[in-house]
Amino acid sequence: MKYVDEFREAGVIAKASEEIRRLADPGRHYRLMEVCGGHTHAIYRFGLKDLLPPNIELVHGPGCPVCVLPMGRIDDGLSMAEDPNVIFTAFGDMMRVPGTQGSPLEHKARGMDVRIVYSPTDALKLAHKNPGRHVMFFAIGFETTAPSTALILKRAKEQGLRNFSVFSNHVTIIPAIRAILDSPDMRLDAFIGPGHVSTVIGCRPYEWIARDQHRPIVVSGFEPVDILQSIVMILAQLKAGESKVENQYKRVVPWEGSRPALRAMAEVFELRPYFEWRGMGFISQSALKIRESYAPWDAEQRFQVPGVRVTDPKAAQCGEVLKGVLKPVQCKLFGKECTPERPVGALMVSSEGSCAAYYNYEHRKAAAFTSIGAPV
């Protein structure tokens, strides 16, 4: 609440909160999923749950790219960098994510050449600066980040840069939402749609959720008032018995998305037949593979990839938490074996993961925000 009190639009927030109470049927329990990890982070940080009536439950979705990356992919990426000629590059959030033999940072401590980059263009720059070495970029992210990776692959090809490759772990949000909706124990009423992913993909790709699954989805901004207004819009739809795609974040998100970003992605990437998501299992056509025309820059083609599979510990109930069947605290491992310092399950890995956010703000209320892999 403290953060909300400081907010310049306290009056608007109070009004939105009142409107939510007016629209919500006291006899009904609402489960709304915020798909994006950035929203999860904002909801906890601003204490928005305190502004909602108890019958509105926010379920935290799969939109945290670090969380959903299977441990085996980290092992695969690190195995490529065992060659002393390879420079392993990744965003800062990846550095503390554990593989079976430790995180990239721990591999660095053991002598591997591991470097943080803040932009994929810098991985390309490193390749230019180190012509005798091979620079591999460990790419993660949803559609917000994938266009940037696509553009640097295009540049590498244009420049004929041969000592550079990308290990693509890019995933797409729509199949994950579909997997959640198809799950037999699914109990969601509506979705708060991701903000920045939608600047790229636009709002059309969500239309099937409203049309076929009869669930409202409202693309939302990240300010407290944005999230509350999105909840108002969802409740108004539910009250009227409607299900539509609406765009609360019009000032940033165009309905059609970003054509240059979509073009770059389409040129460089194709859909993998299936990809494993931590906590959710294999989801068909849910990830991006580098096209054959870019094979010389595809780390999976240039290196021997062991294809490591690490099964999530059976006791961890990440899948149930993701689908909203369980709250983070109801998982048997939460706060005991599984903490942000020693994550067992996917959702404890990054501060945008729902378990880590819950742990940091609710479970450890007074403590400082000591996240693993703060979001960039």
């Binding site: 601003f46 932009s119 720059k125 600047t199």
Partner: protein, 91 residues
């Protein structure tokens, strides 16, 4: 990963069509504007940046709101660190 950083375009480079110098809370770094190729930004425009790429053009009012959101989220330090890190930390 989901947050984007508002930045103001301070210089464009005619010889390099995808490069722009931006300013974020006093820090100047080069970013890539290749994802805005259909409607390239001009000097003085505000953009949202993510991993060193301009993702969308926004109004100045929206930019100031976004800066406030980052501050409230406690992300301003991480955002600054990211921007300072662009270009391998070299100015």
């Amino acid at each position: 990963m989901c947050l984007a950083i508002p930045a103001k375009i301070v210089e464009l480079f005619p010889e390099e069509e995808n490069r722009a110098l931006v300013e974020v809370v006093g820090v100047r770094r080069h970013i890539d504007t290749g994802l805005l190729s259909d409607d390239p930004p001009k000097t003085g425009d505000w953009v949202l940046i993510h991993v060193g790429f301009a993702m969308s053009k926004i109004s100045e009012a929206e930019a100031l709101d976004q800066i406030q959101t980052l501050t409230m989220l406690g992300e301003q330090q991480a955002a600054l660190e990211e921007v300072e890190g662009y270009g391998l930390g070299e100015t």
